[in-house]
Amino acid sequence: MLFECAHRERSERMSPTADPIAHFGAMIDRCYDYAEAAKAAGRPIVGIMCEFTPREIILAANAVPVCLCGGSAATIPAAEQVLPTNLCPLIKSTFGYHLTGNNPFLNWADLIVAETTCDGKKKMFELLGESKPMHVLELPHKANAPEALAYWTDEVRKLKTALETRFGLQITDADLRRAIRLMNRERGLRRRLAQLMRHDPPPLTGRQLLEFKSIISGMEPDLDQYESALRLLTARTAHTATTVDNRARVLLTGVPLVHGAERVLELIENSGAVVVAMENCTGLKPILDDVDELDPDPLAAIARKYYHLPCSVLTPNSGRLCTLRELAAAYRPHCVIELIWQACLTYDVESHHVRKLAEEELHLPYLKITTDYSPSDSARITARIEALLETARPD
């Protein structure tokens, strides 16, 4: 179900669900209700485009951060009237939603916060900014330069000022600390859910785990549901501890699987494997680290956490390889699959390092899948996944 499918039978949907896992099934509907109610209560909606966006600053401004990344093939033809065809589908789909007006969250957004990450996004934001209020943070790209963090911290500070000016309020350190605690709780819970996949067999499929990812950050009612889900699933792992699982365990890396673009994950799991770890922006990458709650300067602590996100736009992006090593040790995959959205240059070029790491250091079979949102190559992708699994787990 994509953004446009948020239906209108609220009373039905608001009733509490006994099963916390089923609760996360209707994510877009819940987000729709939450954002609509928040807007009615006077809270601004702030659209975000990336995991570099510090959610805490937006939450401290009493605004609702909503991810606007598009995962629908249907909005791409509209986008291609303006954008080049040979551009990443995530960028085209996001912009296509803007042109077609089919994303209510984008329509509601009082402001969009974006960053200078990849060239495609950066230039698309200029076009989006022609008709939407837009604040762009400049992200320095040299990962290990000390002055880069100082620069980024200043950019985050300017975002705080911009939100204060736009929404006519003061963001205090106490506001920031409250937001930090909320986001740390959210990250911690999602991290613990993801860590359940270390079990053999894992209590969920990768696809089920992805359902726990919401497009809205800091949605408190969901956090209690995470707690219940954790209790339920932890009990489940105790029951299945002796079950023999002959599915190959997959470490998935590369581009994010934004809402609506989960096809490759489904193809992998329908081929008889289970994705135990997702090192991408919709998986573990942004939730591995928390913001230091004890730092005397909460804004600097927020900037530091976000700056260390190991994204392929950074150079060198050695942090990503470190994460992959740690995930391989903790989740014990049988193979590594890397997903690249077509024309995503930074991830595509970086795949050279990932392949080398997988094959030469981790000694795991590696497969790179390059595709877009159109399902026409599903059979071909499946053949490659099956061949990889035949290689990874020969009988």
């Binding site: 595709t371 059979a379 490659r384 061949a387 035949e390």
Partner: protein, 265 residues
């Protein structure tokens, strides 16, 4: 024990019957692929059996592979082309370290370990650049028969430079070259080089010799030379290169039949 492998490719369906007691191929069949895939597979399988004088119930197991593998209703199981080609090649030439397979709409590069196990592989994405499809388009553009293209390419003095990124772009280039009066032989040789270049880019690294060339495109004269020149290493064409996948499938079918008989009560 008789087992069968059926390779339902994008352009042709190939059948191999293998007698494991005598360790030899006892039947082969080849038919054009089409719309009614399940029926076409059934027909060529039946025809191959009857030509070999084998009754269907004598066939212990059938492995289907290839792009249409899931539409072969009578298959015991399916195994991907990668594993089947590797198995077939290991049987034919056990020293092989790299396989280049170019079929109707696929191309793959498979690297093998000692003992014939797949080390890794690469396969073309959505685009048919670097596959037999490109040769078909060329044949149509040159008004030539597919089977004559190879001979034509042999007459080339100066192969034309043709892009290897996209078949549609390349077709536009061919039209341009024809308009400039470039000889058809040079265009044909240029297309073969373009396919070889694409395959090399797909492999992403130098191939370890010995390299064996399989798939229907290996039958075309000139193609092996283009590949050897581009890869800068000797390349051998597999015996009956179209049947490598089906042969591998038939060999793997024996293992499946053996597993099934030991696990049954």
């Amino acid at each position: 024990m008789i087992c069968a492998g059926i390779d339902a490719g994008s352009r042709a369906i190939k059948v191999v019957l293998f007698d494991h007691a005598r360790s030899m191929v006892i039947g082969r069949g080849l038919a054009d692929q089409g719309v009614a895939q399940p029926r076409l597979a059934e027909e060529i399988f039946a025809a191959t059996l009857s030509k070999a004088g084998i009754d269907r119930h004598q066939v212990r197991s059938v492995v289907a592979t290839g792009y249409g593998r899931n539409r072969v209703a009578f298959a015991t199981t399916t195994i991907t082309e990668i594993t089947c080609h590797a198995r077939g090649v290991f049987h034919l030439a056990p020293d092989t370290r790299s396989i280049v397979e170019i079929g109707g709409q696929d191309s793959k590069v498979i690297r093998l370990e000692n003992g014939g196990r797949v080390r890794d592989f690469a396969m073309n994405d959505r685009c048919a650049a670097g596959t037999g499809r490109f040769l078909e388009i060329l044949a149509a553009r040159l008004d030539a028969d597919w089977s004559k293209l190879g001979d034509l390419s042999q007459q080339s003095r100066q192969p034309a430079l043709i892009s290897s990124t996209c078949v549609v772009f390349a077709e536009t280039e061919i039209i341009g070259l024809l308009a400039e009066g470039v000889p058809a032989a040079d265009i044909a040789a240029g297309v073969q080089n373009s396919i070889a270049t694409r395959v090399m880019a797909m492999a992403g690294r130098p191939l370890t010799a010995p390299v064996l060339f399989t798939g229907g495109v290996a039958l075309q004269p000139g193609m092996v030379r283009a590949l050897a020149t581009t890869l800068d290493c000797p390349v051998q064409v597999a015996p009956e290169p179209q049947f490598t996948g089906a042969l591998g499938a038939a060999l793997l079918a024996a293992r499946i039949a053996a597993t099934a008989s030991t696990s049954s009560p």
